[in-house]
Every structure is written in structure tokens, then in C-alpha cells.
Symmetry: C2
Subunit: 411 residues, 2 copies
């Protein structure tokens, strides 16, 4: 007997048939004696339809009114799912964000949850009801409807689970869990039964787009066990927790993430003076271009080489800015490359294991893959390589760290 908060995304509730399937799933949990709070997104396509109406009127819709508009998408889903649950003989009650007192600040279209009053939900649960809450929305001090921004339904789920001290927040999606790497790249990719919040954050920020980063941060902060499962097939999914299981039983590396959205820029022969990094990156960030990896080589003969990566879409803009800066600084040359990929190994296990990075570099060397840049964090090592070697590198690393082998953690 547990309390589960279950979040179903837009695809999972994308049609009346799928809403009925969600109702079936909820009923199975309920029949097992669990208490269920369901958080739903708008039916897939609906939010875009609503935004389209607004765009027909103005390119700059008033943010307050935009929230009034798009919040109707989830409101439709909560009512339909509640009807489907009632049809199955369950007690069910729908709530908009405002009705269930998800209190946010007033930053329309990107509001942050400030508090949740759970008293109403508690008494509904005590009466045996399934509670169906509109994701992605709340209400501010003045009773204005707010939205948490795209993908905010995950955050609603985690926030409700935290407020209700739920046993688990289950995120139902169209994948059946978090994998050691993308199964489309490595056939032997394995679903992880468990992963830590930190690992999940690294995986998510590196391109494994299973969960919204913000909801993972939130779950980690409030220590809400988070489980990613498939809406469409059975299975235990992947549990994301704070628990670091014993490293003897566990692999050192949990997964391999990769990303080919980046481009690399280098200034060669810059005078090696204090403040040079900010002279180079200042104009880039002023142009609202986000910089990811930064590497500066050790100086030789009073000059240095400085390299950084940006999103591939920003490459041309960043290159033009950098050429201007290089001129001003009297640098020797500017080089760029937008045919790169970033490959990262992620795992809390590497904290207690020496030689993880060197194993990675050896593996890549064996495959004759040249490493262009290296960047590390406590639970991650990232390298930049030529894009054409990306899949080879991922497969080689997946095998070198024995990620394709079932281990004691597997079901």
C-alpha cells in the first residue's frame, strides 16, 4: 500500500483511446490498494493548436493571457480522464493547478512553484478518490493562472510527490526507462534499473531527453524517488534515487551520453595575459550564445591557444564574433569546426575508482580516434571527437566499460 504520483505526458493521453488506456493502468494500481494522484499534460497537439490561435492574433501574446489560453489544454485532459476513471467505478476528482492550490510566483509562461496546500488532496485520498491534476500550471497570489513552461508537467508531478511525501513519482513516457546509451546506436544498450539523480542530470544535460532537467533537480532536492516507465508497455522502468548502491556490486560507469549539437571554435596564438578568457568569451555571451566546454592550453612563448564549444546553430554567429575579437587581440589565427561530437561517460562509481579516464582514452586510442578536447566533472568525463567517429566511440566505450553485460543490479 503506497502513495504514487503518476505523470502521463501528451503522447500518453493523445487520444480518447489512450486516455482510456491510462484509466485502465490507474485502475490496476488502485485495485492493488495504492493511493494514486495522476498528473496529466495536454493531449498531444493541443498546446500547439492553442498557441497557433494566439499567433494568429499577435506575435507577442500577453503572457498572462497566454497562460489563460494554454492552461485549458490540461484542463480538458483532467476532465476526460476523470470521466474515464468514473466509468470504471473509481472515485475520481479533477483539479486545475489553481484549484489544487499549486501556488506559484507571477512569472507568466515560466512560473516557479512556491508552495502546495495538500489538505484538499489528503481528504480526497482518504475518501478513496483518485486525484487528477492538471500539470504545467498553477496560480499566483492574485489568483492569476500561471504556467510552468514547456515540459512543466514533470515538475508538477515531482512537486506534488514532494508535498504529499509520496512513495514514488512515476513519469510515464514513450520510452521504458533510462538506458546505458541510445539503443539506436548500440544494440547491446541496457535499461538501467537504478541511477542516481546526479547521474541522471549528467545524462539529461548531455542529450538523453527522457526527463526535464528541472524536474530531476527538484526531485533530487526534495529526495523524491523518481521512476521513468513506459505508458505503452509493462516493466519496472528506471528508478532515480539518492541511494548510491555498493560499488562492488555496481558498475563504475552507468551510461554513455553523446551529443552532436555542438561546434568548436579555437583562437590560436593569443597573448597569454590575465583576463584574456573574458576578453574572448565576453562578446560571445553578450550575443546570447551559450558556451559549453572551455579549454585553454598551457602557454608557450607568451601566447596561448583558447578553445570553446557552442551550439551548432550558433556556430556562424560565434565565428564572426571571434574573428573580430582575434583581430583586436592580435591573435595569430581563428579556427572552427562544426563537425564534432561530444561523448561522455557518466557514473558515480568513478569517484572511487582510479583509471576510469585513462581507460576511456585508451579505448579511443585503440580505435584510432583522436581526442580534440577533454573536460571532466566528479562523475563524468567528456571528450570532443570528430563527428564521424561518434558511433564507433560510443560502441567501443559501451563495450570497454562492460555496460552490455547484465549485472547484479539488473532484474
Amino acid at each position: 500500500m503506497a502513495l504514487f504520483v503518476q505523470k502521463y505526458g501528451g503522447t500518453s493521453v493523445g487520444s480518447v483511446e489512450r486516455i482510456e488506456a491510462v484509466a485502465d493502468k490507474v485502475k490496476r494500481f488502485k485495485d492493488q490498494g495504492h493511493d494514486i494522484v495522476v498528473v496529466v499534460s495536454a493531449m498531444s497537439g493541443e498546446t500547439n493548436r492553442l498557441i497557433g490561435l494566439a499567433k494568429d492574433i499577435t506575435d507577442n501574446p500577453d503572457p498572462r493571457e497566454y497562460d489563460v489560453l494554454v492552461s485549458t489544454g490540461e484542463q480538458v485532459t483532467i476532465s476526460l480522464l476523470s470521466m474515464a476513471l468514473k466509468k470504471r467505478g473509481l472515485g475520481a476528482k479533477s483539479y486545475t493547478g489553481g484549484q489544487v492550490r499549486i501556488h506559484t510566483d507571477s512569472s507568466h509562461t515560466k512560473a516557479r512553484i512556491q508552495s502546495i496546500d495538500t489538505s484538499k488532496m489528503r481528504s480526497d485520498l482518504d475518501e478513496g478518490n483518485v486525484i487528477v491534476v492538471a500539470g504545467f500550471q498553477g496560480m499566483d497570489d492574485d489568483g492569476n493562472i500561471t504556467t510552468l513552461g514547456r515540459g512543466g508537467s514533470d515538475t508538477t508531478g515531482v512537486a506534488l510527490a514532494a508535498a504529499l511525501k509520496a512513495d514514488e513519482c512515476q513519469i510515464y513516457t514513450d520510452v521504458d526507462g533510462v538506458y546505458t546509451t541510445d539503443p539506436r546506436v548500440v544494440e547491446g544498450a541496457r535499461r538501467l534499473d537504478k541511477i542516481t539523480f546526479e547521474e541522471m542530470l549528467e545524462m539529461a544535460s548531455l542529450g538523453s531527453k527522457v526527463l526535464q532537467i528541472r524536474s530531476v533537480e527538484f526531485a533530487g532536492k526534495y529526495n523524491v524517488p523518481l521512476r521513468v516507465l513506459s505508458s505503452f508497455q509493462d516493466g519496472g522502468g528506471t528508478l532515480i534515487t539518492t541511494e548510491e548502491t555498493d560499488s562492488v556490486e555496481n558498475p563504475i560507469i552507468s551510461g554513455i551520453a553523446f551529443n552532436r549539437d555542438e561546434a568548436k571554435l579555437t583562437v590560436l596564438g593569443v597573448p597569454d595575459l590575465p583576463g584574456i578568457a573574458s576578453r574572448i568569451l565576453g562578446p560571445v555571451s553578450s550575443a546570447n550564445i551559450e558556451v559549453d566546454m572551455i579549454v585553454q592550453n598551457v602557454a608557450a612563448d607568451q601566447t596561448t591557444d583558447f578553445t570553446f564549444t557552442v551550439h551548432r546553430n550558433d556556430y556562424d554567429k560565434a565565428l564572426a564574433i571571434l574573428e573580430e575579437t582575434a583581430n583586436e587581440l592580435g591573435a595569430r589565427e581563428v579556427k572552427g569546426d562544426n563537425k564534432i561530437a561530444k561523448v561522455s561517460i557518466v557514473g558515480v562509481g568513478m569517484r572511487s575508482h582510479a583509471g576510469v579516464a585513462s581507460n576511456m582514452f585508451t579505448t579511443l586510442a585503440k580505435e584510432n580516434i583522436n581526442i580534440q578536447m577533454i573536460s571532466t566533472s566528479e562523475i563524468k568525463v567528456s571528450v570532443v571527437i570528430s563527428e564521424k567517429y561518434m558511433e564507433l566511440a560510443v560502441r567501443a566505450l559501451h563495450s570497454a566499460f562492460e555496460l552490455d553485460q547484465a549485472d547484479s543490479v539488473a532484474e
Copy 2:
């Protein structure tokens, strides 16, 4: 400088283009210095689309969830109209029924407004904002979303006008006012500049479906001047007030209503005993059939003839019931006719004028139209005639009461 509550129905806001046109209209009033509260319905077709989704799930949607669902229709319109107003440089704020504190009872799908807290609207108006309110909806004591039932947006408009003591509640629709009779039947039908609430109620209940009866009753009760105008063309529309203008200047009859939705049933030769009417009508009303006109002729030879009308759709069912009752009562014969029409003259002026009914009967006699039933109220005389004479009767009466002649009330 006045305060107007303006209600725009589903057709008037049926597309983004029409919403823009409503915004233009509102701006013109605002530019003249008036304060404006706008009440809108769902975009035409939207409510039916939402109901369709519910019907795909269940034939008996939970009433609470049904209200959560259909109330999104108006919520979309208020946000879009507010965006369009803002685009025109006006201050505008949208409110759902619950947000603007339209407090109702808990009768989902047919809730009644109990109170409206106007403090928020007052301060918004004082700041120069146009207030855009979702029609047709409210919130009960427990914060549940309620709806007032189909056509309830008119009621929202009138209730807001009453609560705000507005100078006028303007109902924008696809007709440009209330006519002396249907212009499709009588070419000379004239738009009325003024009509009393009582006349409007008689006209509405007799088939002139310009306004919801409930909103007219409500406006009469709270003495809210109500004006019916066209969304699509300019013009003063028809003002519905309590003011009875001087009968010297005014026509005795305001309009002619007609209705071919009824059918007539007669029992001949019923024993003329006390309680006979309830013996006859009891089984009919038990079958949920509404009875409109009832006529009992003076008894001759201990038996009487008893006639009543029902909706034409109920004719077969009523006939079967009546035949059974007639058998039990030992009546001589049952007759029915579903090829009838009811034609009524309506006007507060007839209170102070003798001979109105006789003028009506004479006019019909001149046209050789046989009157089958007569029923009167203080401001109305209705006759039942054969359906085939209906248009002839309406035209003859329209002319006999000089309704096609411009008079001092006309613009």
C-alpha cells in the same frame, strides 16, 4: 460616459477574424470614454467539439467533470479577445467565472448564480481596463467549476450588469434586434426600438429565439436595461426595459409571435365531473410531456370536450396515453391534429385598450381562417389555427395592427 456590459455569442467570436472584429467594436466604445465589461461564449463549434470528446468516453459524463471540460471553451475565447484588445493598445484582463467570483450553487451543468463579488472588477475598471469574462460559468462554495447550462452566457452578462449597476447590458447576436414578427414571413416586419420585459418574455416563449428566457427574466427582476444588437452591422438594436412608454404614442400591439411546434389533442364526450382535468392530464404529465394550452368547453348534456396542446414531438406518445385514459373514463372519442399553428399578438398596450382580441378575431374571420382554440393573458392573445393558414394569419394581423407602419417610436 457609461458602463456597458457587452455579451458576444459563439458566432460573434467564431474565428480569430471575428474576435478581432469584436476587439475593434469594443475599442470604439472605449474610445468614446465608456467603461466596458465583455462577456464571451465559446467559439462556435468548440462546445460541441468538447462534448464530443466526453461522449467518446461515456454517455453519462460525470456532471462535475463535464463542467471542467466545457468551461475551457470560454476560457480560450477570453484569452484570445484580451490579446486582441492589448494589441490595440487597450488595457485588458480576462477572468474565468471562478476568478471573477461568480458564485453559484453546486448544480453542475445548470447552476444558478448566487452572488458576484465586484471589487476586483471595480478596481480593474478604475485602472482603465476592459474586463473580459468567460460567460456561462461560475464556481461553487468548494471551488468547483460550474456551468449555467446552454445559453448561459446571456445570464452571465445580465448578472454582471446587475451586480455592477451597469447602464446597459448589450447582447450582441446575429440579428439586429427584436422584430414585430419574423421578417421571413412578413416583408414589412419592423425592428422595435423598445419593448418591455413582459412583452419580450411572451415573444421569446412563443418562438422568437433572440434571447434566452432566463436572462430576460433576470434582467426584468433586477431592472437591467437590456439591448439586443447585431455583432455584424451597426444600429441601435432593440432596448428591453421596464419603461412602458405612453400608449398614445405607442402601438397597442408590439409584435406577433407564432409557433408551429405544437399538436392538439381532444377528448370528446367526457363525463363532466369534478377532477376530470387532472384525470386526463395526470398521465400525460407523468410521462414527462409538457402541456401548453388547455381549453375545456362548457358542458352540454353531462359531458364535456377537453382539448390541450403538446409539443409536436410528443404527439404520438400523448395520443396513445389519451386513448387509454378516454377508455377508462368512458369518453366518446379522441381526436388529434398535429397540423396546427399557434399565432399570438403581444403588447402591454392591450391592457388599456378594449377590443384588441375582437380586432384579432375579426381579422382572421375576414381571411376565412377558423380559430380552433383561444387562450389569453394580460398582454397576449393566442389562437390555434390550421398550420396552412399560419403565414396568412401573421401577415393579416401584422397589417391590421399597423405594425408595418413607422411610428413615433421608430428611429
